[in-house]
Amino acid sequence: MSERHAGVSRRTFVTGAAAAAGATWLARDPRRAAAQTKATITYWNGLTGADGKVMDELIDQFTKETGIKIEQQRIPWADLYAKLQVSVPAGEGPDLALIHTVEVPHFASDGVLEVIDESAMSSRGFRAADYLPATWQGGIFEGKRYSVALDVPQHVLYLNVKVMKEAGLVGADGRPKVPASREELVQMAKQMAKSDTFGFGIGTVAPGRYTWGFHNLLWQNGANVFTADLKRSALAEPAAVEVADFWASLFGQKIAPPSNASCRDAFIAGKLGMWIAGSWNFTGLREAKVDFTAAPLPRLFKQPVVWSMPHQFTFPKPKGADATKRDAAWTHIRWMTDHVADWTLKAGQISASRKAHADPRITADPVLRVLMSQGASWQVGQPTPRWVAAENLTRPVIESIYIGQKPARAAMEDLARQINALPV
């Protein structure tokens, strides 16, 4: 597996370098730049963290190279989605928006997003072969494409060297031991647990209600929120209940922090040993000078699936067609895809396009290398408009399970009923 990956990397490096060189040449072509000088597009995204500053820098560079101006609106994700839902039908939406993969189906089914013609993709050099299936398929809903993936926020296992060293879980080489199974993870976590130190946590803040972590465990056990035909909830099935039982045992056995603790703060403060959390955390850990390593997500159930949630470029439906603006938006997507290595290096998110994966600056980074090695295991949410609403219903239920307020099986059966009652 790793050899095959290395082979792909070499090949993609050569093609990637060629594409990047080509794009740079195109961007510097004065005629092309002049033709687009006047275009100004509006762009909404939810990059409110440090990644927003990186995006600003890249957009400045893009404007310098292409003459296309971008007016950005940066809105917290939850508000961004409500705003798109209101403004697009009123004809006040942006020319370009960045959204999470699981938002695509409900926006598509509500007619908020424009369908992207596959020929428009191929004519601009976007090919399925350049993407892993999870990212490429994430833009497709009911056979039609609505989005193009930029990057792949995903889970990874962070190991706190200080905490693990104190528990004697560091090898002779100074590297923390990585659990190979659920049993081993629990046993190691117990070894680290003290009154205010926890062995294992999942989720950035509020681990008890961290649906993305719960989904990850479901997927590892071959379970999911909906059945394969997406008609009913599958959360009352035995594989899902087994995950819920494990969820209850985390806090029940006192190996994981309380439901509303900040795992990130606990990890930084040296009070959390093993931490499954989003890839977006690692640049912050470095800034906080935490002694940590990252490892691929361990296989805790049947398969080593890694939760991922690609950011997707989409075109909200405009009031009237404006070919110049649409072309300018495409130019930006193409440009970002060609410069995505800079995005990865500064914002810490692995690109959806595989072309940048072989960039030597990226492969030299130990954490980015781990994130890329998980590519074959990436999985995304199911393509149903009910996904986000189901997730909102899941949050309080898994918290009740986590703190032992409700028994796992009964809570999951109730959750499945609630999800089945959602409007179709």
């Binding site: 209101v86 509020a206 439901s259 900040s262």
Partner: protein, 289 residues
């Protein structure tokens, strides 16, 4: 002549009335209309569904839980909200440090609910928060205050008292200033101590102010949202979920179901209206002292 004067008055009132009609009355009535439809934000087509949204509320167990939690919060928070600022007001009515202390107690109210929520969230963090650190030092092992069903709502109440006490303190102080000083002097001559004066003079004469605080607090309590949303998001489980949070999530997170959310809003409106009428009826005779 009188008729003309009336018209002139309405002429002056017209701009205000127009704005009131456009931004208050129309949304209110349109909300009522929406509550009888299956309206969803962003979907132009909507159909009349009769009382279906209201009927669904009868079966919506999470709505029932939210309603119960809201009632619990309202009842449990009333006494501390009435009493603590009153005690502070009496203590700060005189004394050398009163200006500084009044400022200090009023300060939290100048903060937005998000700032208050985030500050307390950090203070009460079960692993790295300073509250548990000192609690463990002085009392015993700390707890996860916001993620235990038995304590979460009480923490929200305590946070709210901390936040709004300064506001009610100022209102009480204004009321205290209105009580004639000679009443206390006469009482002192008759041999009344501080406690006797409080019960016999301060409290009865503050009754209109107490009524104002009581009514505004009850109305505000039924609409509690911000503190809960930041501190617990309704958790653990649904232990602190309130009606407005349920309404917000129905309207802006789960399918943007404006019809169903409007029905909830009208039910909440009816409850608040009923409580307000009840309060006015019960206390009407006592306010005209």
């Amino acid at each position: 002549m009188a008729r003309r004067r009336g018209l002139t008055a309405y002429g002056f009132l017209a701009p205000g009335l127009l704005l009131f009609a456009a931004f208050r009355v129309y949304p209110l009535l349109d909300g009522l209309r929406l509550s009888f439809t299956n309206a969803r934000l962003g979907r132009p087509a909507q159909a009349f569904v009769g009382l279906a949204n209201y009927e669904r509320l009868l079966e919506d167990t999470r709505f029932h839980v939210s309603l119960w939690n809201t009632l619990f919060y309202t009842v449990a928070s009333t006494l501390p909200i009435l009493a603590i600022p009153l005690l502070l007001a009496v203590a700060l009515n005189r004394g050398s440090m009163r200006t500084v202390l009044r400022g200090a107690f009023f300060f939290p109210f100048t903060l937005s609910v998000v700032t208050v929520g985030l500050t307390w969230l950090w203070l009460l963090d079960p692993v790295v928060g300073p509250f548990n650190y000192y609690f463990g030092w002085l009392v015993g092992p700390g707890r996860s205050w916001l993620s235990e069903p038995g304590t979460a709502m009480w923490v929200i109440i305590a946070t709210t008292v901390w936040w709004v006490a300064g506001y009610y303190l100022v209102i009480y102080l204004a009321g205290l200033q209105d009580i004639p000083r000679d009443l206390y002097e006469s009482a002192a001559l008759d041999g009344a101590g501080a406690i006797r004066s409080f019960w016999a003079i301060t409290l009865p004469l503050l009754r209109p102010v107490l009524l104002f605080v009581f009514v505004t607090h009850i109305i505000g309590s039924f609409q509690i949202f911000g503190q809960v949303f930041i501190l617990t998001q309704g958790g653990p489980g649904d232990s602190t979920r309130t009606v407005v949070q349920h309404l917000y999530e129905t309207a802006f997170q789960n399918f943007f179901a404006f019809g169903a959310a409007s029905a909830m809003a009208w039910v909440l409106f009816a409850i608040i209206l009923a409580f307000s009428l009840l309060q006015f009826r019960l206390l009407r005779g006592h306010t005209e002292l």
